[in-house]
Amino acid sequence: MVSPLLILAAGLGAAFLLGLLRQTSERAAFYVTIAALGFMGFIALSWTVGLALGDALPVMITTAGTAPPFAINLFMGGMEAALISVVTLTGLLSAFYMRKDLLRLGRRVMAVLLVLIMALSGLIMTRDLFNLFVFIELIVIASAGLILLSRDTRALGAGFKYLVVSQVISILLLVGVIFTYHANGSLNIDDIPARPMVFTGASLAIFLVLIALVLELKPFPANGWALDIYESAHPGFSAIFSAASGTAAAFAAFKLFDVAGPAWLPLATGIGIVTFVGANLLALAQSHDRRLLGYSSVGQIGLVLMVIGQADILGATLPYVAGGILISHAVAKSGLFWLSGLVKGRELSDWAALRDNPVLIVAFATFIAMLTGLPPFPAFYAKWALVHALMANGAFALTAAFLIAALIEAAVLFRWFGMAIKRESRRAVVVNLTYEAVVLLAMGTSFVLSWIWGAASGQENLITLVPLLFALLFLPLDIFPAKAKNLLAIAGLVVWFALSFHGLDPIRLVFLIIMVLGGALLLLASFHAEGRRMGFYTPAMLMFAGMALLITSETSFQFFAAWEFLTVGSYFLILRGHDSEPHALSYIVFSLGGAFALLAGFALASGGKFTFFVSELSEIAPQVAPYVFVLLAIGFLTKTAVMGLHIWLPGAHAEAETDVSPMVSGILLKAGLFGLFILLLEMGHQTLYGIDLTVVLVWLGALSAFVGAVLAAFQEDAKRLLAYSSISQMGYAVFGLALMNHLGWLLALMFAINHFVYKSMLFLAVGGVKERTHTKLMYKMGGLITLMPYTFVSVLVGIIAMSGVPPLSGFGGRWIFYNAIMSTDLRLPMILVFMSGPVGFLYLFRLIHSIFLGQPKDELRMVKEAPFWIVAPQMLFVAFLIAFAALPGMILRRVDGYIGQIFGDQPLTWSGRIVDSQFGTWNPVAIWGVIAVVFITILLLLIWMNHNAQRVKQFNIVFSAERPFKPQTTHFAWNFFAPYRKAMGFLEAPIATGFWTGVSNALHGTAEFTRKFYTGNGQTYAVQLLLFVVAVYLIVLGSMGGAS
């Protein structure tokens, strides 16, 4: 192992060496720079690897041959090595990235870059307080120099503001340092004893040092200067400034907080969380890409500071957690800054240019996923560990603030991603191979880091999961035609099913069949897509991977990771739809919000244990159990789109592509249902403030069932109608589950199966119609029955099944429903469910009538039947529905037996094909028989009487003795249920939408208002900085006064 000091020596030596090169040889100077940075990076990496593998031991490096504290010493441990690797490699890549500008400005600027990286490394290693100051000043000066790389003249102003602020900081730091020296008789950091948090003498000196280091982290709101730099500097430098400088400064702060003792940790926690929340909130109002990245950087570093503040509760996992966040931030943020160089415009929507190059879109998505802490990236593991530690220690408010801010951050970033995918780019992407190579390297690194964090997690290493890898496999395969990929995808799903279905209980098996085999079936429809269909299969398979893993998950970690996979995958899928940008955003925000509720719930349940079996949910302490239940239920109910948390669903499902809508509606919603199954299975009845929570669920389910149905009846858009109908159907299922009896559960399961079948079928059918008519508005269609007969049949069967009219399978659901409510004490919620039943007819009839019946429109007279591959799965579904209706025992019997084991009863008796309950009988075969015989007899009778009926033309109707010739006025379709709307329209009042819009507007308004605080005046920034220091001083002083 080479001495880590060589990192500093190499940086400095090379910087000095540059001056000796001939004036003209800028190219040689560049290579020297690269070589030096590469060497520094190599040393750091070799130490990282050595320390990680145990080949090397952490080393204390003394200088001047004298032991500390009498000479400056440095320390190289695991954290230091890893962070220096980050710093040096960021520097190296940025150097490549800035090649052109470095050559333009010459070797002096290369020397500055070298010194900056050297100083950052020094800042990480040094154990001497004054040496820390020297390195900070070097960083300030070098940064001020590199800001000049930018061709943006505004950068000058930013650089000057930075210097002004740095002066104030260095004054505070120096005063703090010298008084600390006076108190300890040493400048060595390790000699600083833990101090109580008081504001006299040595403690005040430590406060000054700490606050100065915190100020280097750009805490909110004393950070206007940093944002200006991010906005105007060269993206290559911004990458360093955010990733490398941020990392080093955070570590420096950590070193000091570490020695100052636990009394000071609340300071870090407080400032950290305020910064994280504030920065993310203000980012909401940003439309400038780099400034947005700046806000995000500030927020992330604030988060790291907050984590540092949890040193006492995190203990030995602190490096893992803080490191996970810090390194994710570094890689992702530098990657994003580098990407920004490839985009010419500076508006967020200008990133649409990236679509010219799909690889860059993948990189963009990777970085955003990494920043938001999605699996399998390091920040995911960190988030998991952090929330577990926080919840275990009762820091609920802090957890809530953290999760809410994280959600806002995700909203900001995904809104941006949505713009990149959906907006039109005005200017083409910059073609620069170096830039792209650097970005891709960062992306590659992110996966390597994912592996490392996964391996160290003590949990499953997510990046090695076969389904995930299978999904990622489609990234390189994207150059192949869609049909080939589709075949592979279907094969993959079937094989995965064959591999994983053994040993599952019947409930899980049913869900696995729906999710995996159902997915394979729905993918048949994807055969209709022509060309390559880039970017479809990875998200789709990611979603299916998440669902497959969800069913087979055993620990809460596996469950949550799978949950996030399916959420993210489906988000990307939904985003592919035509007008889906805002809807995909609201989908991901609600989904992540729900996921965070799950996270908090699991964390609370586990009591801090990182490995927590889902089955242990039944054993948690009774005083926390209700809260766990509430949190988990919120998470799952968000997914099933219960009334109030439903506003994401209609848009997301309606705007998705033809074959995506059935996936996200028919299949994905079942994930929430599955979660509720597990939750109720393990936790059963829970009581909070004297209220049985399952009763609340019953009410919520019933309300969703009713209101969802009413809203569906008022839709003009066919897919929205189906989407609202899903809300209603899921409401039924939730209702059934929450009844907490055998038949209720069977009902829910029956709904899960039925809803999958007929909703998939209907979405496919409507999608097929849309493919042909190019509209989703039903009143623009009409009379398509003769043009699209197969589609009509599937809609017909679908709506009969869904409405519960015998003989199709929906009736079975209703029958079980009545038997279920007979055995419960709850009565009032039934009113809502009773009301929603007939309303189902309204929207279903409207769907089939407005599209297929009535008068065809002139412009749609020539449309053809939907494409074969869209019709084919529908026909399979039709066959299944009929079979399932006649022989429900095929599936239900086993499940019924299993549920019987859970509840210890067996209310249904299956004799042959007849089902008997305590209250009644259901004989599906007989029902079929009677109906079929009667129907056929009457039909034959009619044909006998009426065989010579003449087919007439379109307008041959009796219409006030006139014959209308205008289908637009004759086809009664728009606002079809006007009378119903008159009576029940008050239910349409967008209360939930209004509420969430209000929340969103309030946040945006706050952000818009608060950011005016950053006036752009350097002097004001300095005043704010002092204001921040004084405010922190006074607040802490005040809280101490209150405490004593």
Binding site: L8, G19, T63, P69, A111, L138, G145, V1023
Partner: protein, 235 residues
Amino acid sequence: MTTRTAIPLVLLALLGTAFFTLFAGYVPDAELNRTAAYYANQTVAETGAQNVVTAIIVTYRGLDTLGEVTVLFLTAAIVGLVLAHSKAPKGRSGSGFLPSGELLTTGTRMLVPVILLFGAYVFVNGHLTPGGGFQGGAIVASGLLLMLLADPAERFSHGLISRIESSAGLTYVILGLLGMILAGGFLDNRILPLGTFGSILSAGAIPLIYILIGLKVGAEFSSILTSLEETEDAE
């Protein structure tokens, strides 16, 4: 009083109370603290330098000093960089000045060699007497400033300055590394014999380093000065 002045005043008053708390809690030491005591007792034995401050600067806190030199190096580079684009065209620079008087010109010719010599003296004797590389370098640069004042149109070779600066810096780093190989650690001055206490050639590498620092600081200051001067009045 406007808010623009009132707010800083209030803030500074509050900051002042913090400072005053520091001040009020300050008890001057009666004895040297352990670090200072160590230096007082061990400097001579370990470094052979008469000037304890010098020993600290060059050896014990040599890394700081290297950083310090680097600060100047950086500043020089950046100032050069900042001003490079606004260089006045040759010949026009200084044209706005009145010609300097005879007195100044003659005085310069007489004084500059003496100043340079004095500067060299200061940094060579840094380990023995007050002074050292920084002070010496600053004196050397003041000589240069005097020449510039006397003849604003004068140009110094950036190449030369930069070469002096760089080779001095590089040598400094190499000396530091030699310390790791030949002696106890980075920047250990005992790579050379400590010599006789109190003589010029004593204290190991300290005089050498201070000479390098002197050269480097002188070169850097000169570089900054010339860069600033060259932009003067350029339109």
